[in-house]
Each structure stands twice: as C-alpha cells, then as structure tokens.
Symmetry: C2
Subunit: 345 residues, 2 copies
Amino acid sequence: MSANEFVVAVVGATGAVGQQMLKYLEKRDFPVKELRPLASKRSAGQKVMFRGNEVTVQEALPESFAGVDFALFSAGGSVSKALAKEAVKRGTVVIDNTNAFRMDPEVPLVVPEVNPEALNHHKGIIANPNCSTIQMVVALKPLYDHYGIEKVIVSTYQAVSGAGWQAINELEEQSKAVLEGKEVSAHVLPVGRLNKHYQQAFNVIPQVDVAEENGFTLEEMKMIRETKKIFGDDSIDVTATCVRVPVMRGHSESVYVELKSDFDLEEVRKQLGEVPGVVVQDAIGEQVYPMPINAEDRTEVFVGRLRRDLNNPRALNMWVVSDNLLKGAATNTIQIAEALIGKDK
Amino acid sequence: MSANEFVVAVVGATGAVGQQMLKYLEKRDFPVKELRPLASKRSAGQKVMFRGNEVTVQEALPESFAGVDFALFSAGGSVSKALAKEAVKRGTVVIDNTNAFRMDPEVPLVVPEVNPEALNHHKGIIANPNCSTIQMVVALKPLYDHYGIEKVIVSTYQAVSGAGWQAINELEEQSKAVLEGKEVSAHVLPVGRLNKHYQQAFNVIPQVDVAEENGFTLEEMKMIRETKKIFGDDSIDVTATCVRVPVMRGHSESVYVELKSDFDLEEVRKQLGEVPGVVVQDAIGEQVYPMPINAEDRTEVFVGRLRRDLNNPRALNMWVVSDNLLKGAATNTIQIAEALIGKDK
C-alpha cells in the first residue's frame, strides 16, 4: 500500500468517530488520493485536519459521492439510509458504521479478525457492527473455533463517547457541576431523541439506546443479533444487559461463556494471546487486568479476569475492554477497507 | 419501642458506615438509653452528633463493652476479630458488619427480610452480609420462595463508598484533577492494603477486594458463599464479577437468574412489589429503572429491567440498585437489632 490510489469520503467527519477515522486513515497510511470530508449542512464549511493540511467539510449530498472509491459512514442511521445507496449507485463502496443495514441479509456485517470471508459477497454496502459487539466477538472468536459456544451472558460498562461529542461534553459539565455543588442539567443521555434525560456523572444508567417491545433495549438486541450474524450461527444463545457508566472512552464487558466442550484455562489464555489485535492482561494476583483508562487510544481488544466458572466446568468468565471509538468503530471500519483493497489487488 | 432501654456501642463511629448507623439509629427511633461511639485510638476524642448532642468518641477496648447491650461493629475485620468476642464475654450482642465471622458456622448471617429465623440460634455474634450480597438476596428471595433458584450470574457496578471515606475523597480529588487536566494520583483504590492503586475517576476497575487462589476476588467469593449461607441452600449456583465504578453511593447489579420452574413475568413483578423494602421501578418504555443517584439515602432495594431471557424460558434478567451504606450496611445492621428486640420482648 504505497501509492495513493483511492478517493475516500468520511461521512460525519466532524463527529467523535469521524475524527478518529481521519486520524486512523493517516496513521495506517491508508492509500488516500483524495480525502472528502462530508457532514450535515450545519457542519459544512468547518475545517478538519488530514496529513497536516486543512480540508473543508462539504455537505453530504448524493452527488458528493461521484468518483469516490470508499465512503465511511458514521453520521447516524438516517443519514446512512438516505445516502448509502446513492453512493453505491455512483460506484462507491460504503462501509457503514450505523445500525441502518447491519441486519440486512444482503449486507455483510464484518469484523476482519472474525469473519473476513463475508466480504466476498458484498453488494456495495458493508456494515460495521456495534461497538459493544465488535470487542466481544473478537474475544469470543478463539473460543468459538476451539470449543464451540453454547451461551453468552454479557453485562456492559459503556463509555459516553459512544453517544458522541455532546455526551462527552455533558459528562464533563455534569461532573464539574456535581463537584462544585451546582445544579446538574441533562439533555443528551441516555438517549438524545427520547424524552427523559438523566445525570450520568457519578451515576450508572441501565439504558443504552431505545427500548424494544420485549423489554430489552436496542443496544442489547444489537449484541444478541449481531453476534449470531457475525459467526453465521443462530444457535449461539446471547443475553445482554447494556449499561452506561461515567467513563469518557473505552467500553468494558463482563462476559460469561458456556462452551460446547471442555477446555484448559491455560490453553484458552494462549489461544487468546495468539489472536492478532488481542492483548491478554490477566493476572489478578498481581492486579493486572484491562481497564478503560489503559485502553484509550489503543486499537486492540484487552482481555483479562479469565477464570473457570465454579459451577459449570464448561463455562468461563472474562473481562473485555476496548476503545469504543477505535476497534469499536473507526479502526474496524478502516480494517474492512484494508481487507477490501488487499482482496482487490 | 418507646422506652430508651439499651446501651448501644457503635464501633467505627467516625467511618462512612458508622456515621450512617448513628443517623439511622436516630431516624428509626431505636430505643437507645446510652450511645457509646467507639473507634481506633487515632479517632478517639472526636465528636459525633447523636439526637442533637455531641458525643465524644472513645477508643475501642475490651472494657469499653461493659454494660453494652448491642455493639454494632464496622471498623474492619481485624478490629472485629480483636474485640467482638471480648464484647460477647461482657454480655454484649455483637452485630458485625465485617467479613470476620460471616462464614463461621456458629455465626448467623442475616438479612431480616430473607432469613430472620437464623437469629434464633445466635451465640452472641450475628454477621451482617456484604453490601453486594444483601441487595441481591433481597431481590432473589421471592423468586427463591415461588420458583426455586438454579443459578445466578451477577455483574456488579459498585460505588466507592464501600471502601470508606478515603475512597470517596479520592474519587472527588481525582475527578477534579482530570477535569482540570492535572496529574492524577491514586493511593486507595482498588484495595487500600495492596501495592498497586489505580485511577477510579472516569474509569472502571474489575477488582473489589483481594484476589483468591481460584482467580475470583474475595468480593466475588463473598457474594457466592454468603448467598448460599443466607438461603441455607448450597445447591444455588452463583457466579459473580465485581467491578468498581466512579459512583459515590449506590451499588448496581446486573443479575441473570435461572429458576427451577416456569414463571409469569407479571407475577414476578407483583411478588417483588409485595416484599417489604423492595421498590419495583420497571418500565423501560417510559425510561423507568433504578439508578444509584435515585437510591442515595434510601433504605430500600430497587428492582427493574425485569425481562424474560430470550433463550432460556426459565431465566430472567434484572437490575438491582441499593444504597450500599444503608441497606447494604447500616440499615441492615439496625434491622437485625430491631428483630432481636422484637424477639426478646
């Protein structure tokens, strides 16, 4: 990847994830011939930095995609629904980081370490999974391959940056207000477009995204549905409880896994350590385990607190942390693009 | 309970839990004839408030318990080990809020809503369970009674106040430092007496208490062992992952429960609502669920996010929140004392 061959559009270039996409395209030396940062009308005219140059953000319109090779979308589901197919019509390959197409049977849902083969069948749109799902399936992959997975029960500890800049700013403002004994206001979390907003500072909110009819939230259902789709295996039972915690960056997950066959814990540790992009931090006796502050700005998935279940000898517990803006979003999106150009070459 | 009949000692009277004990003895109008606030030599001479009067804290010594009817211990396991039996020798009934005697087969481990009958067999010392255990078993009790419990998998979101004033101050100081872009120092969490200390502000730490040989932490093993002892049923499988979050007061728990028989979710909601001390806050569609900021200074256990598991029709998921300093500590201790005087009368 030396020549700069591709025109790359980033839709939502001023957002929390979009900014990481620009940074990561640069860092990975992705062969960008022209960068086209796109956003809503409101953000058009802003400047973003790319390879040391200021680039002006343009309004994302159907015609913006003329001549674009890859469009990385991260501007919300409604923008993807309105524009992704327009981009495909113009010959662009869309990698979409929203929930718009993830469960569409025509759209591959890809984590390159887990199911790169799904890329072979794409029809112009490839979906990037939900942040909470990505880090979990990366950690589950060696377990699935070596032992088979019966059941997963996960509880998440999700950072506010998953809800964008507004949520990051809100947590900062609220934290200051609490520490200064001032009144706390809430306008963004847990879900911007819902009626009620709650204080996130020094608080835990057991709601990420809207509710579904069955009493689960959409975030919980994303983890359940996407895990099955990524492994291409509907027989994996997944239960999720998704919770927002007062952390800026880095999602954590407490994961209980029932395997289909016996395992040796030392073997599992070794197998996890061999996965590219996984870092095992597992020595509770020496107080070594993953934490969000150590995962910030890192592209890996960190796994620790590995222990055999005391009741079910075929089950184990683990603790999985990753930067939700990177492997959970920007990094995985660009890894998909890299896999595609690797393939096309 | 009108006459003030009892001499009550509070051991650890200046601590985070001790302070709540004084407040709650007063609020519940516990029949205190004389309050004897005790603490380490270092804290002796300090004043605490009780019923509008300043009372001087005395050093806790064996002879401090002469004439004391009830001694409420919350000054760490080593103090309880050194002094609880001295108090019993002097005719005092000890209610101990540390880990010192909880698993002693001679010592009842009591949550009055769950196993008040265990009080009948006490020999001078009664143990108050761990905060994380108490709120969980209160929520599990109606499930156990109506359906039987096969298995529990719990992940906790624990407030720093469980680690005392120092941890509360540390979270405050660290949060300020982060917001002001200053260097963050850590001296208390996750476990004061261990070597390594980590930033808790805007971070999640998957360690509460020291590690055991099996890879679980002591806090996790407390939840496992104490749940079996309180229900008097070793057949309940419990798995726990205990995590500290940047919250001042109020523990939250994501609890998956497999029952022994079928259930109707509406019935479960009703059964939980009928438990004294339980408040059901369960309407995700209206964004109603328990949160630590709403549980602060409340003595109840709050239960919500009730939903049937999508894979196992005999399993359900719930979210349980309570003030760890109150029902998790001070309130439960005093409820034990109340149960005893109710019995003795």
